[in-house]
């Protein structure tokens, strides 16, 4: 109890002083949870899933006026900061939106989220509706702390078919193909790759795939297991070297380091034909379907797996990305709020309407038995492609910034940014990152 008080006081104190030093910064404190004891709170992300969550919660609230849910949305990067501060201060939402991995583990270690293993045992229907491999991502030390809530999100290499046709090129199958395409697109006045470098996490997708293709998933498994000097693995060094070669060759669009992925500017470069390709999560399909409906509908959007690398150890069918997003239940919520939250998870989520809305938005829900529905969708080509990609992957590596501890994840993104800007060498990256192991 004393500890909790100290922690809460600490959070309040640091929030207060940081905001004093940042007098002009207008960020408000975390929203209180206790407006009415029975109504649960839920924080989601703006973007592709926003209308889907909103519709699901609206219809839930209509049929359950006594156990309603209050839903708020935040932009991705802002959310990650806000939710952690709020959870740390015991002011988090009842349903905490997350990615699993190291961040979830830090919540579990701090006792901030509830163990849902018992809930799954009591409700076998809930357990059996999920793809088993994806349910696994919410498990920490044999107990389930998070349940999938939306869609599979493998990282895909998208390309603009119109631009490819113009120079008579085909989608790259190997890394050498990819490097050979760079000068051709540059000569045609098109940037080979778009990249949301200011957001930093899109940079990471390059490193994740390259390391997996070169050294296989074991390389990152060692890093995640905090083995000493795991970052000095030759596969990491080679991957970073290849990234810098691509930067040197002018592979990324002019000004990539000032492009933010949160504003969808990176995908706009692809569908406006200013860039030929982009490596991004499957979720940007939802965005492009909305912002560039004609482009997607007329079949100009191509997609292909990440290229293979000569002599690489990784299986070319391996995938990186996010298996899904998850709901965790805050342990600081009232019993009534928890009851509301769990009954929503049981009955309100992944009902027919919700599954249909997700598919209609251009996403693949993480539930079983949807093949027919996917095949009936106007987006069936992409959806079945993504579904197959996720289902058939021998290994699905969780995005590293989520898999690692927050301190390590942040250091990794900052150092990787320096790699893309060519301010540091791959060796400097490795030694800087080795120093963070165990933090």
């Amino acid at each position: 109890m004393n500890n909790l008080k100290l922690r809460t006081a600490g959070m309040a104190v640091s929030a207060a002083v940081l905001s004093i030093s940042l007098a002009a910064c207008g960020s408000s404190g975390p929203a209180g949870t206790g407006a009415s004891a029975g109504s649960a709170t839920m924080w989601g992300l703006t973007g592709g899933d926003q209308p889907v969550f909103q519709a699901s919660v609206d219809s839930w609230n209509k049929s359950h006026p006594d156990s309603s849910i209050k839903l708020d949305f935040f932009a991705n990067d802002a959310y990650k900061t806000k939710v952690r501060t709020a959870v740390g201060a015991g002011q988090g939402p009842t349903l905490v939106y997350g990615w699993g991995g190291g961040v979830l583990k830090s919540y579990v270690d701090a006792g901030q989220v509830d163990d849902l293993t018992g809930f799954l045992k009591e409700n076998p229907d809930v357990q059996s509706r999920y793809l088993p491999s994806i349910l696994e991502s919410g498990v920490i030390d044999g107990k389930t702390y998070a349940l999938p809530n939306n869609k599979v999100q493998p990282v895909v290499l998208y390309y603009n078919k119109e631009v490819f046709d113009k120079i008579g090129a085909e989608a790259p199958k190997t890394w050498d193909d990819l490097m050979a395409l760079v000068p051709k697109f540059k000569a045609a006045g098109v940037a080979p790759f778009s990249l949301g470098g200011q957001s930093k996490w899109p940079d990471l997708m390059w490193l994740e795939y390259l390391v997996d293709r070169i050294g296989g998933p074991e390389v990152f498994a060692k890093i995640a297991a905090n083995k000493p000097d795991a970052w000095s693995d030759p596969a990491v060094i080679e991957a970073l070297t290849k990234i810098q070669e691509l930067v040197d060759a002018g592979g990324f669009i002019n000004g990539f380091s000032s492009i933010a992925a949160d504003s969808n500017a990176d995908q706009a470069l692809l569908y406006t034909g200013k860039a030929a390709m982009i490596l991004q999560g499957s979720w940007i399909y939802q965005g492009m379907k909305k912002d560039a409906a004609d482009f997607v509908k007329s079949g100009k959007l191509g997609y292909t797996p990440f290229p293979t690398i000569d002599g690489g150890k990784g299986n070319p069918a391996n995938v990186v990305g996010n298996p899904s997003n998850f709901w965790s239940v805050s342990s600081k919520a009232t019993e009534e709020q928890k009851k509301t939250a769990l009954s929503y998870v049981k009955d309100g989520m992944f009902n027919d309407d919700n599954v249909k809305a997700l598919i209609d938005s251009g996403a693949v829900p993480v539930v079983t038995g949807i093949e027919d529905k996917l095949a009936a969708s106007p987006d069936k080509d992409f959806l079945t492609y993504v579904y197959g990609m996720a289902k058939d992957a021998p290994d699905f590596t969780l995005s590293w910034d989520q898999a690692l501890s927050p301190a390590q994840g942040d250091a990794m993104l900052a150092n990787l940014d320096q790699i893309f800007l060519k301010k540091i060498t791959p060796e400097q990256f490795a030694s800087a990152m080795n120093a963070t192991i165990g933090k």
Partner: protein, 311 residues
């Protein structure tokens, strides 16, 4: 002329003597109590809290563990901290060099009573009405190398990678900050200039002083304290530029615009190292206080002395 002035001054000071004594004693100290209470509660206490946190290790979620000087060691040996200090100093210097003369001249210009000047003053004032985040988002869109103003209007010289080039970005940030804050300082100077008694200018005109001479011999000296106030706000304010830079560049590319307050925020809330962030917070407060004190000293010890004697 000089004899009459001296005589008037003697007269004035004799007349003012009783009131000056009450001034020196000042109004009742109790008037300061409410402000002092708030200040203690919301500034001094949290400051002590942060000082305490800087000697701990805390990720924002788990337990707060006492950890001696290790956070300080991390912060002081981290090259990023040194870089953040350097970037902050550069922004402070360039902001001052750009903003001070522009706002002084604009302030003097808008202080005169012609109608068109009043209309212009209203226009100059507009950027101040916009929130920093809105300003940053707007400039980010305008300066976008692929969709911004340059490519939009087909002007290649505007199509630079303004926010992605490590060498350019600092000056872009200085420019945007100036765009937003020059109106504020203009307003301060405008008020200051209007306080100067017209009799001084009339006397100068009779003595045959031109406009430039009047500016340097009357306006500038009379604005001494306005200049100090405005400079203090400018310099100490540079330590608080956060929202604008955070939205505009997020401290990038790399560490090129990672100011000290931004570094503190990112360390605390992105890397979740509250101990190190608190140590950075303490450094920020110390620098801020030192600068404010230094600038106040520039004004001389006898700050309360009137500048209008003999006017």
């Amino acid at each position: 002329m000089s004899t009459t002035t001296a005589a008037t001054r003697e007269q004035t000071s004799r007349r003012e003597q009783p009131s000056r004594r009450t001034l020196e004693k000042g109004p009742s100290g109790w008037l300061a109590v409410p402000a002092l209470a708030f200040f203690t509660l919301f500034a001094i206490l949290p400051l002590l809290g942060v000082l305490f946190l800087s000697f701990t290790r805390w990720d924002g979620l788990g337990e707060i563990k006492l950890d001696g000087l290790s956070s300080w060691q991390t912060v002081l040996t981290d090259p990023v901290t040194g870089n953040a200090l350097l970037v902050t100093a550069k922004i402070m210097f360039f902001s001052f060099v750009v903003q001070a003369p522009i706002s002084l001249l604009l302030g003097v210009f808008t202080a005169a009573s012609q109608k068109y000047r009043a209309a212009l003053a209203v226009l100059y004032f507009v950027p101040l009405l916009l929130s920093s985040a809105a300003v940053a988002i707007a400039f980010k869109a305008l300066l976008d190398p692929n969709f911004g103003l340059g490519p939009g209007l087909g002007l290649p010289f505007l199509a630079q990678d303004w926010l992605g080039n490590s060498d350019l970005v600092l000056f872009v940030v200085v420019f945007v900050i100036a765009w937003q804050f020059v109106p504020f300082h203009t307003l301060i100077y405008q008020g200051g200039v209007r306080q100067i008694p017209t009799s001084l200018y009339e006397a100068a005109q009779i003595d045959g002083a031109g406009r430039v001479q009047q500016f340097f011999n009357i306006t500038l000296p009379q604005l001494k304290y306005t200049i100090i106030t405005s400079s203090t706000l400018m310099v100490v304010g540079s330590l608080a530029y956060f929202d604008l830079v955070f939205v505009l560049t997020a401290g990038g590319p790399g560490y090129s615009t990672r100011l000290l307050p931004l570094h503190m925020y990112l360390t605390g809330f992105k890397a979740n190292d509250m101990g190190a962030a608190s140590a950075l917070g303490v450094i920020l407060v110390v620098i801020g206080l030192a600068l404010a004190l230094f600038l106040q000293r520039l004004g001389g010890k006898n700050r309360n002395a009137s500048q209008l004697e003999g006017a």
